[in-house]
Assembly symmetry: C2
Homo-oligomer: 180 residues x 2
């Protein structure tokens, strides 16, 4: 009756790392929209079946890789203050998408989005909820507010205006979200 | 010394309409990322040179078509109240992207974004500025606030979560942007 645990060490981690490396190389070489699962499997030296089993299709794989440095098991910022937690968390996301490769993979993922919520978005929403809930029922924000007011503008800029992803962006967005 | 005026009637409008129709058909048939300018020219029965001259490349063409119903020369909502103007304006954008074809073209455009600001984004920013400036120096918002707090969440949802583009979204976003 125990919940399934995603293995993250040993052979599993080595395979994952080979797949990630292969995806990054292929996106750089051909552009995200041309990357297929058989191509990744060949480059990574793994069986395509195991990629299909874990991700289902290329969009899901790309979306996952696009955010893997934002490991869902990482520690979230925890300062004891909602404003500072959100700013630090948003800072990690901005930092991630300031890397041109991560933004390119995001754009490739966008082209194929729209059918269902991706793991990446689900993870960000779960994180937003986790941060907001620390501050109990008196928290002035819902997870949706955080997605609309913090994640959406960062992702919008990462896709369309990557040169505007400044270090001051998280602070400005949080100030707008939580007026003093 | 007069400013250049974009012709919008007569033969020019007929050509434009043929190009738009061709783009929409081709996106439906093949997906936005496969559409090329020669393909559009052939389908529309126009010379590829005139498409290249006006748009430069396929991403620019797609981005323009993706928002053509949001004609930059249309009248913007003007109710005499900032909150209502913004909600009506955001409502037009939501309405536009609730159409699956428009959202699909947006996704195709995203995949190719990131090099420079598109006409589409420039137009939305100009509109945001125009609305905000009506309310003079005491307006509690900048155009950037409107882009981050209103346009970004709509576009983010149109790309990744199109089923969440509800009719109540503009009102909720404007309430968050302009607390009462």
């Amino acid at each position: 009756m125990s919940a399934p645990v995603r293995r993250t060490g040993g052979r599993s981690a080595a395979v994952l790392s080979a797949i990630r490396y292969a995806v990054e190389e292929l996106v750089r070489e051909r552009g995200a929209e041309k990357v297929t699962i058989p191509m990744v499997a060949e480059r990574a030296g793994v069986n395509p079946t195991s990629i299909y089993r874990r991700w289902g299709d290329a969009p899901a794989l790309l979306n996952d890789i696009a955010t893997y440095r934002l490991d869902p098991q990482r520690e979230l910022p925890k300062t004891g203050e909602l404003r500072a937690d959100l700013a630090a968390w948003a800072g990690e996301i901005v930092e991630h998408y300031r890397k041109p490769l991560n933004a390119a993979i995001l754009r490739g993922g966008s082209a194929m989005a729209g059918e269902q919520e991706t793991d990446c978005l689900r993870n960000r929403r779960a994180e937003a909820l986790q941060i907001v809930e620390r501050y109990g029922p008196q928290a002035p924000l819902s997870a949706d507010d955080v997605i609309d007011g913090l994640v959406a503008p960062i992702i919008y800029r990462a896709i369309f205006l990557p040169w505007t992803l400044g270090e001051d962006l998280p602070g400005r967005l949080v100030d707008r979200l939580l007026p003093q």
